[in-house]
């Protein structure tokens, strides 16, 4: 990138101008504290909890482990892009229907993770579901209802929806 060009991030299809002084931050910090995208949660900043999961160039990663300066020019999708404003994706609806949300802190990360998983696995087994969400910690639900929600969503999931 030429030095005189104003750096930017491509987030959810929008070009957002950023400062060079943010380059050394985690992408999670930049998204939340600089750009006001609070959907991605911060619970550990060490890759353990998955609550900051995002799509970077169509790959599921933890935003806390991405350096903002490395993410310029790449395609970033956050939970804010999962469904159009005012509507719910099938996964979100399944979470509500099964009661897979309690405090909701883990939910955005799980939704992104599950969307990515169901895009590739249309008919997952319970074991595959549990493995897919093994990097997303939930302190409330005990996972049973989350697994149930994924199973229900897998029946109705439509790849064309939302992030990725």
């Amino acid at each position: 990138m030429p030095n005189d060009e104003q750096p930017h991030l491509n987030v959810n299809g929008k070009r957002l101008t950023i400062q060079k002084s943010w380059f050394g931050e985690s992408l999670l910090f930049t998204l939340r504290e600089r750009l006001g995208l609070y959907g991605s949660k911060n619970a550990c900043e060490q890759g353990e909890c998955g609550s900051c999961s995002i799509m970077l160039d169509e790959t599921l990663v933890c935003a806390c482990l991405v350096l903002t300066g490395s993410a310029t020019g790449r395609d970033i999708k956050t939970i804010e892009s999962l469904a159009p404003e005012g509507s719910l994706s099938t996964i979100q609806q399944a979470f509500i229907d099964t009661g897979a949300i309690q405090c909701g802190f883990c939910t955005p990360g799980l939704l992104i993770t599950i969307k990515d998983f169901l895009d590739e696995n249309t008919d997952p087994t319970e074991l595959e579901i549990r493995e897919a969400i093994s990097g997303n910690l939930c302190r409330c639900t005990g996972y049973g209802r989350i697994v149930e929600a994924v199973r229900i969503a897998s029946k109705t999931h439509d790849e064309s929806q939302g992030a990725s």
């Binding site: 380059f23 599921l60 490395s70």
Partner: protein, 285 residues
């Protein structure tokens, strides 16, 4: 302080950027690096991002071996052709972290971190991997044992980086086993790679998380050879107990927040026995 972030697009460019300033730090998948940045254990003034360099992201089959670029991710290693070509590497990759971590974390980063608990380490050690290093001065090849010289210490020279890893394609049974507190998202308490070399009728045993540097259980490898029948793939059970002890004796583990030395010493022997009897059925020869 503003961090300079340089996104490299070729290995040539990495060489140049390091030649200009060898204090620049390399960032691959970030799964070790960024934890240190977030916790203020590392605050580099200049970083070279290398994980989008095509030469480093690729692997190729080259005769009797595969050459894996340093920025090949666990996700790539655990599935597809690499999983068939180097099964133990794939098994180890599959145990790393979570899907998110495996999507980002790379084999070169695992070596670069040089943690005794790095899951690639015992496999690469048992496979006798050759590591290609590169700098503006040229290339050189080293063994893993020559590269990892202490806990989190490598013998990389100024301006030098890991370009690729060469491992043999053996088409014979291999095992990777790991002990941890759960089956996902866990750093090894102990781990072990067991590789069979049918041509030389020998085995390679790499030990993980029980020594500061990569270690093979050489005595155990030599000892057990006399108890193996390569035609029937059987092991004489009378050799197993001593084999196990020799593997444990090759470890010098420590107590830390994840486990204690005594458990590590014992469990590494058990992993060796388990790997051995998965590959060779017990039977009096």
């Amino acid at each position: 302080m503003i961090m300079e972030v340089l996104i490299a697009s070729s290995t040539e460019e990495i060489c140049e950027l390091l030649e200009q300033d060898s204090s620049r730090q390399l960032l691959a998948g970030g799964t070790d690096f960024m934890v240190e940045v977030n916790y203020r254990h590392r605050s580099p003034s200049s970083v070279i991002t290398i994980d989008q360099v095509p030469e480093l992201q690729n692997w190729h089959h080259d005769g009797d071996s595969v050459v894996v670029g340093s920025c090949v991710t666990y996700r790539e290693i655990e599935r597809g052709p690499l999983a068939t070509l180097v099964p133990a590497l794939a098994q180890a990759a599959r145990t790393v972290g979570s899907p998110q971590i495996r999507n980002a974390g790379t084999i070169g980063g695992n070596i670069g971190t040089a943690s005794p608990a790095g899951d690639m380490i015992p496999v690469l050690s048992a496979l006798g991997a050759v590591i290609s290093l590169r700098s503006s001065e040229g290339k050189r090849e080293v063994s893993l044992e020559d590269l990892i010289v202490g806990v989190k210490q490598t013998s990389l020279r100024r301006g030098e980086f890991i370009e690729s890893v060469r491992v043999p394609v053996l088409d014979s049974p291999q095992e990777f086993l790991k002990v941890g507190s759960r089956s996902a998202m866990v750093i090894s308490v102990t781990s072990l790679a067991f590789i069979t070399y049918p041509k030389t009728r020998s085995v390679g045993i790499g030990l993980g998380a029980v020594n500061p540097i990569p270690t093979r259980a050489k005595e155990a490898e030599v000892f057990i050879a006399d108890f193996l029948d390569w035609e029937t793939m059987q092991v004489d059970p009378s050799g197993i107990d001593h084999f196990k002890d020799l593997v444990s004796a090759a470890s010098s583990p420590i107590d830390d927040h994840r486990s204690v030395a005594a458990y590590r010493r014992k469990s590494i022997g058990i992993l060796a026995q388990r790997a051995l009897t998965r590959v060779f059925t017990e039977g009096v020869l």
